[in-house]
Symmetry: none
């Protein structure tokens, strides 16, 4: 949601340019501030940022994106597994990346391709699991004895460059073994995808073929204490993006499935709002996450981003009208800044506003990157938000006596 | 540059009292804040503050001032060497300090005295290097097997007290050996200086004699990763003060020598401004440092400090007029507060302003300790500034995926 000033918006950010009465109401009736998800200037991944917003010290507990994404895709990740976040992507004959998302391939096509990829077999005792999630997104797990996360990504995370060769990142036999298995598997994937009828049909329909799998973020299951253990709360999550679901699940947060919630700009936000209001009846804490603005930012689509913020605002309007703000607290924030201009996550702080019965209301009248910087919360870190919220609802433990 | 409110300035700080249109322009067109170099209330040395401003965690990497100062004076410091920052100073017969800077002795006199000191020999296998830098400043290196930095300073860092006796700070044979060698050397220095013709001539001219060498800040070469390795940037530094040059050199920053840049209040700031503009053509990042305001503050010279701030402002005016602010970012800050009243470094935060194409401009209209505290950056730490700047120019690495 957060961004930088954009010339086309008269040097406003998309958030500042959007019509967003509900977000503004949260700011106006609440206490505002800015958040460095990890620390000032450091661009966070969605994984580390979400860990931080749930109160964890990502610098200590982060163990790679792959496993979190897999857990969130209902893939069981076992101790010793090495998990990767994957993309269906498009490369040319020289393995130069043309599109990291194969034209944001539709779920149906990706599902057919994934079925074929699963026919490949690794040499025993090794095995793999491959599952597509939303659009171009997928997860891969390599399972077997003595594997390592010390292997480099094949995904260069930009276009017009060649994919990275998969190499071990250290001299251990585990890292060498994992790199060898992964490299061979990726070559097999490439062979199957290149000749696949789904891709031939895509080319015929002038769509980008998903002719390669790019992998990144080798990870293992993180060892984190659940929110219920830390704060003694029941927590639930309304999110479609696998990664966010994975982080929540790892934190012991119950996942709520919402029909129509897709993690895309076409997602059904009203359905998510209703599910959230419902979830609040049985839980102390509910995370509601919308991925769509990030998608628009990565695509550099300023207009769509503004429209999506306005759509999110309507979703919040429903929530504000259907919960009792004399007894609940509501915090609005972003998990990172994604610049429509650079199309990347940036290390700029994000705005936050918390409304509810006993917050020290400040003078901020608007929800935005600049307006919130003048708020009563000042500048905090991502991992500070959760203790602040838990403190407001009387769920923190005293340190000291 | 930063200071506290001063009665003689109508309770304004020197920065608030100065006419400084260019600094104000940076604040007005930029995003402002205040910086705790190390942490709130902790007075930083110029060494730890500069390490912090270059993005290092000084609490982790700092290994004493001596080696940094020596590196910046083009003295080669080897692993195992123990380096000291030294002052030519004036003491009375009872070794009570009358002036810690021997009347800010001129370079010519200090050079002659240093030549004589270098004739002294240590017992083999030990040797020393002694080099005067600017005015009263000098560096000393003791070289040989099994030395230690665990020796106390002889410099009491104030006047009207006796110099400290050099003692080991721990019971190790290395510390005892280093203290013994240093103590003997300082006695030899004292003997040579006391009878030196340069000092006799200084007394005749009613100048303070440089009749002792005070040493402090025993240090070894710091083990830090270069800025180019961390951020993938080319960096250059325009500074005269040996310590700043040393920190920059240790960080892999190229030193640019500017004729007329002396590190004194008489320094040629226009020459430094021109060199900076030139350096920006070939580098991603340029550090421009001016020592003079700190000198005026240590001397308690309020009027000179205000005048120097106005001179620095003119220097910045040249830069603002000669760089393209639609493509570069410019940050103005101080490496510490030095109070004209206490004549010491203080732990008060310093103001900062960053201007450039995509900063979230705030409402601050003036560059000053109080005005910047209301800015959009709020309160950050010294080591946060560099990641914030590198993030603006797209040179930070994402944490997470």
């Amino acid at each position: 949601m957060a961004d930088r000033p954009i010339k086309e918006l008269d040097w406003k950010t998309p958030l500042e340019a959007a019509h967003k009465p509900s977000l503004d109401k949260i700011a106006k009736t609440g206490i505002c501030g800015i958040i460095d998800l990890i620390s000032p200037g450091v661009p966070p991944g969605s994984d580390t940022a979400t860990l931080a917003l749930l109160g964890y010290d990502a610098l200590k507990v982060y163990s790679g994106r792959g496993a979190l994404e897999a857990i969130g895709s209902d893939v069981e990740v076992m101790s010793g597994d090495v998990a990767f976040r994957c993309n269906f992507a498009t490369v040319n004959e020289n393995l130069v990346v043309l599109d990291r998302r194969a034209g944001r391939i539709a779920n149906e096509d990706a599902t057919k391709l994934a079925q074929s990829l699963r026919q490949i077999k690794l040499q025993k005792p090794y095995a793999f699991l491959f599952k597509n999630t939303i659009q171009h997104r997928a997860v891969l797990i390599i399972r077997g004895p003595k594997l390592s996360t010390a292997v480099c990504d094949s995904d260069p995370e930009k276009t017009e460059v060649k994919i990275f060769e998969i190499k071990p990142l250290e001299h251990s036999p585990e890292a060498k073994r994992t790199a060898r298995i992964l490299k061979e598997l990726m070559n097999e994937f490439r062979k199957v995808l290149k000749e696949h009828p789904v891709n031939k049909e895509r080319i015929r329909r002038k769509l980008l073929p998903a002719n390669i799998i790019l992998c990144r973020g080798a990870g293992t299951v993180p060892d984190i204490t659940s929110l219920s253990e830390i704060y003694g709360i029941n927590a639930a999550c309304v999110a479609a993006a696998s990664l966010i679901r994975g982080v929540c699940k790892a934190a012991g947060v119950k996942l709520i499935n919402v029909k129509g919630a897709t993690g895309t700009p076409q997602t059904d936000l009203t359905a998510k709002a209703k599910a959230t209001v419902q979830a609040l009846k049985a839980n102390d804490f509910v995370v509601l996450h919308v991925k769509a603005t990030d998608v628009a930012s990565h695509d550099g689509n300023i207009k769509q981003k503004v429209e999506l913020i306005e759509k999110i605002d309507k979703m919040l309007g429903y929530i504000l009208n259907n919960v009792d703000l004399s007894s609940i607290y509501l915090a609005a924030t972003a998990d990172h800044t994604t610049s429509c201009l650079t199309r990347n996550h940036e290390g700029d702080p994000v705005p936050v506003a918390i409304t509810g019965p006993y917050v020290c209301r400040d003078n901020v009248e608007e929800f935005g990157e600049r307006a919130c910087a003048k708020g009563g919360l000042n500048r905090i870190r991502g991992m500070d938000l959760m203790p602040i919220l838990m403190n407001l609802i009387g769920k923190t433990n005293k340190f000291g006596a």
